[in-house]
Symmetry: C2
Subunit: 136 residues, 2 copies
């Protein structure tokens, strides 16, 4: 039974992550996805294209510089497009590409997990730190 | 039709991430999950408890110090347990908690996305950098 449970767990895994190539791919992707600003921009663009200032207002805590850098990184990775309309002043729209849109589902699953389990993690940290100060 | 598509996309999202509280939760969780070593340890423990040296062999590229720090962080977050058996020398086992095991599924989804789309991201980067050097 233990073996069957182990097999079931293994079946859920994203393949063999110990293969160096896989490990490198996942690391590279996590460098982008693990960045909270990238995640917030992708999620915010999830309900349609936005201009720079709309994004800035939606993600209230982001600085102008950080939003510029984040959008540049997402554009470079092919997750976001930047379209300039030749109006006066020029209008610049940011939108998810198909690739960027495909990221909404796994990022959403992680967001759901985070919301469901955040309180447990905070509680575990408090308990761990209390044990540590008893030991010391 | 555009409206319906927008609604469908919104329905996939992890709730309203613009609420500061949600944003903070997701950021805190990403600080852990976005770290590639944590992800690799969680995935490696996915097929059962392991000793320190077994983990080190499985994740060949990790240093002893980094593995120690990563395990400590995961234990603090309540994702991994550390069990000392009073043998000589003492045996120490690391295992996923229920909370840690619940993370395998969303992390697996992200890993699958990474594997499926890594080539596209690499191609997008090359194209973006080529455009940049033409511009400059």
């Amino acid at each position: 039974m233990t073996t069957r449970r182990a097999q079931e767990r293994t079946a859920m895994l994203p393949g063999n992550l110990h293969v160096p190539e896989d490990c490198r791919m996942v690391s590279e992707v996590l460098e982008r996805i693990g960045d909270k600003w990238s995640v917030l921009v992708v999620v915010t663009l999830g309900d349609g294209p936005k201009r720079f200032n709309e994004l800035r207002r939606a993600i209230a805590s982001i600085s102008q510089r950080m939003l510029t850098l984040t959008l540049r990184g997402l554009e470079r990775d092919g997750l976001v497009t930047r379209t300039v309309f030749p109006t006066i002043p020029p209008r610049v729209d940011y939108a998810l590409t198909d690739l960027g849109r495909s990221l909404l589902s796994p990022v959403g699953a992680l967001g759901t997990w985070a919301r469901q389990n955040h309180a447990r993690i905070v509680k575990a940290r408090v308990q761990f730190d209390a044990k540590g100060s008893n030991r010391g």
